[in-house]
Amino acid sequence: MSTSTVPAALERPRRSPLAYLVRFQSLLGLVIVIAAGIGFSPRRHGHILFLQTDNVANIIRSIAETGILALGMTFVIIAAGIDLSVGAVLGLCSVLTAELLVNEGWSLWTTLSLVVATGILFGAVQGFISTKARIQAFIVTLAGLQAARGLSLIASGNSFINISYGAGPGKAPVGFAILGERIGGVFPVATLVFLVLAALATFVLNNTRYGRYVFAVGGNEKAARLSGIPVEAVKISVYAITGLMAAVAGIVHAGQFSFGSPNDGTGYELNAIAAVVIGGTDLFGGAGSMVGTIAGAVMLGALANILELNDVSAALQLLATGAIIVMAAALQTFVNSGSGGR
């Protein structure tokens, strides 16, 4: 937690090896899991299955959606907030996308822009309520979760929507199918979307005024306000960001599964938050790193994969996941404590 608060460069002038290690503490858990993955991976005539291109591709595909959610979540949590609605909003947006493309016959671009707008609006409204009415974000977004599910049931008419491609009514533009494709038969487009957004989010958080504001607001709201930082605007905006990310994730979901359902995305919020916190972001706000979040997301995906490759039973998978998450976190705090973390 400690150094992630320091916009890295500010401590560049004096980098002790420890400080250096600490800067990458968030990657530690990932490294371990990957090492373990290689170690325990089943092999077939010499090949390490875990490292096979296809398998790696599968891993990064599987984390695309929660990864995207986690990016937005990082902003909110650093700003000392929380957003439980992202999973439901993902569902809502996947339904909307399917509904508009298939049943309403909208064009691809109008659809996407409307869905994204919806996500942003939904998030912003939650932010607005919790900021203006001073209600804990946990409550507002828990209510938002319910509302989003309700809306998606209405939008879908209590049903799920299959997307079939082609021209004419009831069919979605073929172009949309690309989200399910793999570039060169290998690299999943969904993951590409995640990576682009990840780069963007990392840049915004670490290299812009806005990013600095987010840290300040999360660190000490009053102090930030006294220093002339537009605290309320920042707080509202971070929820707009999670809303945006949830919308994109919903579109990706609809695209890669040709499907929209009000039930999809259930529980994703916990995975997203887990990725963020495992990445070393402090739930009390003011400290965190985007790189850590990305590492956290990949780690969770790799973990699930290696367990399945080894035919670990569902029960043991749950136990192992729990254990390993804790160990990864413990390791991080251990490394941190070396540098006087809180």
């Binding site: 077939r44 599987s62 299959n162 040709s258 699930a304 569902a314």
Partner: protein, 303 residues
């Protein structure tokens, strides 16, 4: 068929790994399917079965199908959580030359080797007709406890039952509420229903758990005798619905067949007998469990 076996590495002497991707481990019905498969597979010494929990998430289940490919299983059995989302993944499995047997729910299109299962809509319709013609010939108020809204089995069973009810104009459907397949939710929701509609004569539930919940609520409202309960799944064993009917708690339940035996038999044909073709659609009929046959069935299976 062009004489080529469905699976190229088939033959009586090899050992085979069968991967089963189960939609989720939440619903007792699915637990039952798993147990059936695990029990019956013992009869096939050449088969090794591994089951993965899709955790009711299409994303997770897709990953698991992909992982089965990585692990190069010889045959994939799958019970898709939802059809469309799993289709591309399953198609990919077929492309890799791995046979696919689908249980309970089909994927979209023809990219599967065989399907074994029942027909939700049909089963629910029979339930509706049974209610309309046998249980409440002179009509009365009816309620439905739906499964998880907008999931396909919930939708199909809801609509099927409504179709069935149409047989009897004197029936009045007064309340429909979702209970997400859950017993505790069923107790609360049906409790409230009985407050709002004290004259409910019959309640249809989309699964046995909900039926059990409905019974508790009815009993607590001291209306256990007034309200006839119809379940779905008809699971065997001391914890199953058949027993509840035998004990007279429910009017009836409709078995939703697991198709485990049929599926394994198909697997044997494909892998060991090198079949060149197998029937694409194996429909396993549902059976109505009511006061006439419940006891017999229950005692029978307690070998």
């Amino acid at each position: 068929a062009d004489g080529k076996p469905i699976y190229k590495d088939c033959g009586p002497n090899n050992d085979y790994v069968i991967g089963f991707s189960q939609a989720n481990f939440k619903e007792p019905y699915r637990e039952h399917v798993n147990h059936e498969l695990e029990r019956l597979v013992k009869q096939y010494p050449k088969f090794k079965l591994t089951i993965a929990d899709g955790q009711a998430s299409v994303n997770t289940q897709v990953s698991q199908v992909e992982n089965f490919v990585t692990k190069q299983v010889d045959l994939l059995m799958i019970s898709p959580f939802e059809s469309a989302p799993l289709t591309p993944a399953v198609t990919n499995v077929i492309k890799k030359g791995i046979p696919v047997i689908e249980l309970d729910r089909k994927t979209v299109g023809d990219d599967f080797t065989a399907f074994v299962g029942g027909d939700n809509r049909q089963i629910a319709k029979e339930a509706g007709q049974y209610a309309a013609n046998t249980l409440l010939p002179d009509g009365g108020e009816v309620a439905i406890l739906e499964g998880l809204p907008s999931s396909s089995p919930a939708i199909e069973r809801l609509e099927g039952f409504k179709d069935g009810l149409a047989d009897n104009a004197k029936l009045k459907l007064v309340a429909v509420q979702p209970v997400d397949w859950q017993e505790d939710k069923a107790v609360t929701v049906f409790g409230a229903m009985l407050q709002a509609h004290p004259d409910i004569k019959l309640v249809y539930t989309s699964n046995d758990l909900a039926a059990a919940g409905a019974y508790i609520a009815a009993k607590q409202a001291e209306k256990a005798d007034q309200v006839k309960i119809i379940g779905t799944d008809g699971l065997p064993g001391p914890s199953g619905g058949i027993r509840s009917v035998a004990d007279g708690q429910w009017a009836a339940t409709f078995t939703y067949p697991t198709g485990a035996a049929e599926a394994l038999d198909l697997a044997k044909k494909i892998l060991i007998d090198c079949a060149t073709s197998v029937p694409r659609n194996v429909m396993v009929p549902s059976q109505r469990i009511d006061q006439t046959n419940a006891k017999a069935l229950y005692d029978k299976e307690q070998f």
